[in-house]
Amino acid sequence: MRVTHHMMVENQIYYSTESLDKLNQLQEKVSSGKEYRWASDNPSGAVAALTIRSTLEKHEAYIDTGNTMDGWLTATDSALASIESMLGRAINLTLDGISDTMGTKERIALGKEIDIILRQAVDAGNTKHQDEFLFAGFKTNTQPFTLVVGVPPAPDSVTYNGNALTIEDIQRNIGPEQAITVNVDGKILHDPANPTASIFNALIRTRDGLMADDRAEIEAGLADLKNVMETIKNKHTEIGARQREVHAVLQGMEKTKIELQGLLSKKEDTNMVEAISNLRQQETVYKTVLEVGSRTLSTMSLFDYMR
């Protein structure tokens, strides 16, 4: 093919531009540490990376929530444990009180002890966790239980100031559309609409029975106490199970988070070793292109040799 000098110049410009372009791309890769700068450099990788990032962000939020839930569940667990032990002591005392070897004075003494347990139980029911009441349903800033001293002959009572509606469960998401109830509704401890299923009423009844030395009342109170103990034990186990579930999910999520981060890095980050060696190579290529260009372009034409 017939070659003209113009053609050679054009081609030289093209090749050195190409070479410089490649050099530039490699330099960007190495300097930024990212495999691609724009989504169009690697469409499928970019879209996958976006999705992974979203998932990671979600996981962060769930892990955060999970840890908060864990705290709440732990607090509920210890509150229930202490109520359980209080009830246990109360039951033992009542059993002692029922025994025929006890006299009225002893019974009154036992009654006084149960009174103390009652107050402790009310306090336990008003436990706070990070400035929120555990057993108040949604009304987490209202003290759920207040002990009202009755004007004799009316008995003492405990009012419930928490949620007005039926059972209210505070739910948190541990995964997408996967909710766990973190609280125990106060009504489970003491429901004014259902007097015999209340801890406090049982304690009050037992105490009054002991103080009045009324054997029938004591026995009735003991039966109530035993029922309530069952309920509390069940709830306690439930909370324990929920906490285990939360721990399991949290562990799984931590693992997934690490895997996702690894995956993201694979998609996004430059393989430094590869990129740097390519960069070195491209530098050499560019130098060669320039060298060849300078030789061919500066080659003189016949005009220079004419005399």
Partner: protein
């Protein structure tokens, strides 16, 4: 046959060689001029004559009369030109398209920290965090900030995409003006070239100019050119004539109400103009398809976000109105917000202009003015521990909706749009690169025929120089001979 005639022959040789050198000089001067076709003075032996003398014999006849320049030939191969222009148009189309798409990618900035997906994720997380402590004002403020960042991201992108389209309109108008100007110049050439041909001269540089104009026209919109016998050239684009003889047909641009007042191109006689290749095609495709597609996606997504979040939010209960909103509904008859019954809380988002959703998408004034209007609770009474509505709203992240005809989650919808844009851009880049290689090799082929090779010119120059020197020598010899005849004849023995 006299010596004086021979003198004439020598003189003619000098003049012919001078002309050849002139043409060589012209070539060398234009070695780098784009679109220059090299020329060559074609030499021909002069018309011989049969001599009539009073003593003639056969065998003496037909004497040559030296050398003349027959024509100044221009090197050109029509076939290469045609192919080159075709591929050039296609290459320019992809170049223009790719250029605009890269700009759009930069606007959307999805691979950076500033991407819309990041803001979406942060927004959903904000609701999730609010669920853990629904009455916390700090968390509410944080959520509101995230929501504002999200709506700003929407409106910024929509605004910039719309500005891109307006800028493209300016470029398109520019190109159309250029086509009209080229048409006028071609018409002038159509007048000049036949005139020169009629004088039996070759209008070589005018033909170069015409080639340059046709090349540029191919770049802009592609063209079909037909050479006429008289030297005129009929040029048409997309089947409609552009230049016929000295008459031109103009293109006009008018805002098209059916296309959001973007420009449309028509011929002056009303027929629609279709560019099938070239920069115009690239720009029009980018403006009407790629950018519009992204804009539509943003608008659809904004609408769905607005509707879905508001639907849940207005069912929830806010701290400011624990029992629900008091009548009348809407609270302010002049309110721009729509209140679908039943409504327990104010809407969270609002779209001011239903035809321009993404740009006018923002957090409603009620939320901006009072954080307690955020409805996190699901049951009336809005107790401080009730965060169930916040939880449900954060679950919208994984819910599927019909957006733009597909059933998908909001995140996936937008990621899909980004993916489509990325693929389009990559395709345009590849096509441009591939066509660029083809154009280059075609250009080299063309150059091989048209271009100036300095070595060739140098050799020809030396040839002509030698011929000139020889002719000058012959002239001197003849001059001596004439001198002898005139001055020295008859002078004997002096």
């Amino acid at each position: 046959m006299s010596l004086l005639t021979t003198l004439n022959t020598a003189a003619r040789s000098l003049s012919a060689q001078t002309k050849v050198v002139e043409v060589i000089q012209h070539n060398v001067a234009n070695a780098n001029t784009p679109s220059f076709h090299r020329q060559q003075a074609v030499l021909k032996a002069g018309t011989p004559y049969g001599d009539i003398r009073f003593i003639s014999s056969t065998g003496e006849g037909q004497m040559g009369t030296g050398v003349v320049v027959e024509q100044i030939k221009r090197f050109n191969l029509q076939f290469f030109d045609g192919r080159y222009r075709l591929e050039l148009g296609a290459s320019k189309q992809w170049e223009a398209y790719q250029g605009v798409l890269q700009q759009v990618e930069a606007i959307l900035a999805e691979t950076s920290q500033d991407g819309l997906t990041n803001k979406l994720d942060a927004f959903w997380s904000g609701w999730q965090l609010l669920n853990s402590d629904p009455s916390s004002l700090a968390l509410r403020a944080d959520l509101r900030d995230r929501a504002v960042a999200l709506t700003n991201a929407f409106s910024r992108r929509a605004e910039q995409l719309q500005n891109s389209r307006a800028d493209l309109d300016l470029t398109i108008k520019d190109r159309v003006e250029e086509i009209n100007s080229i048409a006028r110049q071609l018409a002038e050439l159509n007048q000049e070239i036949p005139r020169v041909r009629a004088l039996d001269n070759e209008p070589n540089d005018l033909l170069d100019e015409r080639d340059r104009l046709l090349d540029r026209l191919s770049e802009i919109s592609g063209q079909q050119a037909f050479d006429q016998e008289n030297g005129e050239n009929i040029v048409s684009i997309g089947g409609h004539a552009l230049v016929v003889g000295t008459q031109t047909f103009e293109l006009v641009t008018t805002p098209d109400a059916a296309n959001e007042n973007l420009l449309r191109i028509d011929w002056a006689d009303g027929q629609p103009f279709t560019a099938t290749t070239g920069e115009l095609r690239g720009y029009l495709d980018a403006r009407d398809q790629a950018i519009t597609d992204q804009l539509d996606g943003l608008n659809q997504l904004a609408q769905v976000m607005n509707d879905q979040v508001n639907a849940l939010h207005q069912d929830g209960y806010s701290m400011a109105y624990p029992g629900g909103l008091p009548p009348p509904y809407p609270p302010d008859p002049a309110s721009p917000y729509t209140f679908p019954a039943p409504y327990n809380a104010y809407p969270f988002f609002t779209i001011d202009d239903p035809t321009d959703q993404a740009r006018s998408f923002r957090v409603s004034d009620y939320i901006m003015n009072d954080l307690e209007n955020i409805a996190a609770a699901e049951t009336a009474d809005s107790a401080p521990g009730d965060g169930n509505m916040a939880r449900q709203i954060s679950d919208l992240q994984v819910a599927q909706f019909v957006i733009g005809g597909d059933t998908t989650t909001m995140n996936q919808f937008y990621t899909g749009k980004i993916g489509t844009l990325a693929l389009e851009t990559q395709r345009a880049e590849r096509n441009f690169k591939d066509l660029g290689t083809i154009v280059r090799s075609l250009s080299d082929q063309r150059e091989a025929v048209n271009g100036v090779n300095l070595d060739e010119e140098a050799t020809n120059l030396m040839q002509s120089q030698k011929a000139y020197n020889a002719a000058a020598r012959v002239l001197t010899a003849i001059d001596e001979m004439i001198d002898r005849i005139i001055n020295s004849t008859g002078r004997v023995g002096i």
